[in-house]
Symmetry: none
Subunit: 131 residues, 4 copies
């Protein structure tokens, strides 16, 4: 199972699931039209409650990443369903801004910040090839 959660993390479990499904889509571990595990199945595998998984799936549905079919369960959407919108750009900016401000305040230069981003992008790229 490619999906793991950290019960000790600050991040809510349902958000961890959401983030990892998005990562799975990006890394092509989850292909368009592919099914996610059923709510009950994933809950059992992760040792958590059904409703927590359901909440994650509903959020992903609302954000356009997946569809939820009556019987077939959750299906990965095509990219056009979750293409970045104006609204998302604003949201992204709002999320990045405080990180840049704090890191700058703590003495991290723009160049160094980009170096960190570069590491993350490289990391993703490697995973994409490996996966």
């Amino acid at each position: 199972m490619w999906l793991t959660i950290d019960l000790r993390s600050e991040t809510a479990i349902y958000l961890q699931i959401r983030d990892q499904v998005i990562q799975g889509i990006l890394l092509n571990e989850l292909k368009i039209g592919e099914s996610l595990p059923s709510v009950r199945q994933l809950a059992a595998d992760l040792g958590i409650n059904m409703h927590t998984v359901s909440k994650a799936y509903n959020l992903l549905k609302q954000e356009g990443f997946i569809q939820i079919h009556r019987q077939k369960g959750a299906i990965v959407n095509a990219p056009n369903s979750y293409q970045a919108s104006e609204e998302y750009y604003e949201q992204l900016k709002k999320a990045v801004k405080p990180l840049i401000i704090e890191s700058s305040c703590r003495g991290i230069s723009k160049g160094y910040f980009y170096k960190i981003c570069e590491q993350i992008y490289r990391n993703i790229g490697l995973l994409e090839k490996g996966g």
Copy 2:
């Protein structure tokens, strides 16, 4: 008053205060050794609970940005007190990673992501000159 909060925001008020104090330090609106408004004062000005301001100040203290004196109140520390640590790098990475993953998944290229960051850096620079 340079500090404003948005009650409608998703972000907790005490975190909004924290973020803006850090921004104030970065932009040199708050200089080393300078005092922050008293807990009572700020709470009254913003029309919020004292506990909330207190929580923000305690977090800032814990993160090394300020000291809290019984008499003089909250005082801005010198940069060496909050210089980025290994721990902070890891934390920063963990915060940036899901943003990069989601934005990539939504079709935002690395170049475009950096363009957004660049805007934010420019924005801060302008404020520095202006302030």
Copy 3:
């Protein structure tokens, strides 16, 4: 085959079938006394479960639109079998009311709402001529 279903729709499949059979009757694609496809046939054509088709047919029977013969299968009834009753008026009102309320709340005027209805009626009329 004039009947198509959308597996991605929120609407249950058996209700989609029901709605389209009613539309077929209205547009005279299905004439009085004409047979509907057999449960097996339709299920195979649509690639869905027999139970689902069966459920739709039973609902249509219960609502007076069709009769189900052991040998001849499902047969379209004459209009007097499904003429609007007092009960149906109430049901229709209950269905329309929340739509009018929400649309009014969202700033859609009565005139505009009627304009939307007019479009739908026109659409049906065109289909009637075309079909």
Copy 4:
């Protein structure tokens, strides 16, 4: 309490709450900036579970009708937050179409359908004056 639910109804409780809150906004029983009852309060008043109310409130938030403040609870938004969008028009059409088709099939003329709508609009108008 202006809000009542029907436990025997086909409509899910959380949707009944949603619909009635929207009605309350339309009829100006709930004014801009006004607070809805707290999740716990309303649940207790209606004799239902907290989560059911919470689900309704979250849906209303998502649809732009209300904001959910950390401490102040749910607050009614200004109309511009839930103005009809293109997307909503399509959704409305899709909801109205099968009602028009079935009613036409059952022998209800366009004129009579509008008469029914007229009744509903009048009903709302009277309530607006009365409330």
